[in-house]
Symmetry: C2
Subunit: 298 residues, 2 copies
Amino acid sequence: MTLPDRVSIREVGPRDGLQNEDVVPTEAKVRLLDSLSGTGVKRIEAVSFVHPKAIPQMADASEVWAAAVKAVGVRYSALVPNSKGAERALAAGFTEIEVVVSASNTHNLRNVNRSTDESLDDIAGLIDLLHGAGATAEVIISTSFGCPYEGNVDPERVHAIVDRVLADGADRISFGDTTGMATPRRVVEVVDPVLQRHADTPVLLHFHNTRGTALANILMALQLGVTEFDAAIGGLGGCPYAPGATGNVATEEVVHMLEDMGIDTGIDLAALIESAKLAQEIVGRELPSGVLKAGPRI
Amino acid sequence: MTLPDRVSIREVGPRDGLQNEDVVPTEAKVRLLDSLSGTGVKRIEAVSFVHPKAIPQMADASEVWAAAVKAVGVRYSALVPNSKGAERALAAGFTEIEVVVSASNTHNLRNVNRSTDESLDDIAGLIDLLHGAGATAEVIISTSFGCPYEGNVDPERVHAIVDRVLADGADRISFGDTTGMATPRRVVEVVDPVLQRHADTPVLLHFHNTRGTALANILMALQLGVTEFDAAIGGLGGCPYAPGATGNVATEEVVHMLEDMGIDTGIDLAALIESAKLAQEIVGRELPSGVLKAGPRI
């Protein structure tokens, strides 16, 4: 079995995590971002520029970003839903931008009141806008491994979306397991053909641990050759479709497993656990991370 | 990648799970056992025959077992610490008996006030006693993947214990990840040489999900050819070394992942989730199982 020597983890707690928690103060968001910037993690999804009525948790995105330390050697990214968000993100100085489309048409309709195809048309324009401003465009394909409304999602549908957005100029692809429906078999079915057909495209996987499978999915993806993963400090963020359920896989659980397997993440686990304690304090609820509760294995 | 077509899961919630929870009434234990006997699971670790002062949770083992439905087609086993426990288990009618030794000498000393070598001498006698009564003897090697006192455990130490107990007549070997210190790499290091050297010996793995790695460890073990796993309904049982931490991997999380991967467990997931709800009601605390919280993926 061949596993990569190193893996690049993107910390998404400040955005995807906090977006699914109760609103927290601006200064707390800045403290969490700054804490994470000191853990050795090289990529952080910092904020999203969305309408404050739709997502009040991110209403202060510009203020958070203005106040945060921009650590040398850390790549920060922002998520945007449309051209207005993109303009705000560019104005704030971001050069790595993420846009989202759902592989499930029903999920896309319920999220943004547009069909998947309509969103793909929008994204084509967004990619041009971002490229014109010198930024890169990552397309996140949510519900890639299953949809809470439609159930299973045909991998061929996901692959067609990949082909479309790459043809439209996307720089990177992320596959989102939005509600924790991925299992190792589905990782192979969705991801392997993409790696075969688009060997030069950076591919990132975003797993939720809703049903406990996140680390198994990562193990399978490593065996396929994937080396980029999202994770959220402490396992921040819930699942909007199942109250009380777990959201993102915890960054410290990913780092703990990978480092013990001899796979370099560049991240200091002790520092990461301190950030997880801070995250738990900020949101004021017990976070699901096992490594936060039990500590590292030694 | 080759994965097995079917897997045999042993449900250990009634014993290993409840042994690490607050004491629950006898009738509740019987209800849980009977519920599990109707899920399609083919093996259940029902009780342990230990001294009631050491483990009050199992003081009523004989009463529980006498009252429980013995379902046709289900293999029930009991754990015993010594010859007195073995006599009780045999008198109760068990023919599948488990004995335990810790790979870590410190852990063994703290648990039973004997060195690992002294326990191995005892086990040799126990195996003879059990075989003389027509029962089988499974040796569980706890702390096989790490020890809360000693840290890492040398796999060669584990392998020497395997060689010893097999020479003494053990019918089966179980590797216990007592405090959730296993990662896929350690699964390979501990288990693969045993499979190579003792191809005819049934091998069972017992993972705790303390640091989130249980399903990843199972995925790795499947790839090595292991087809027998312990799991506890709802993720019953805590970790005595880390208050609030998670214990056994939840049976419904294992079944959910395996069945979605096309691996037959023979277990009805919906019935299993009902048993998990019952387990949660009985212990009166929120259990950690993601599948219990979020439901199955479809």
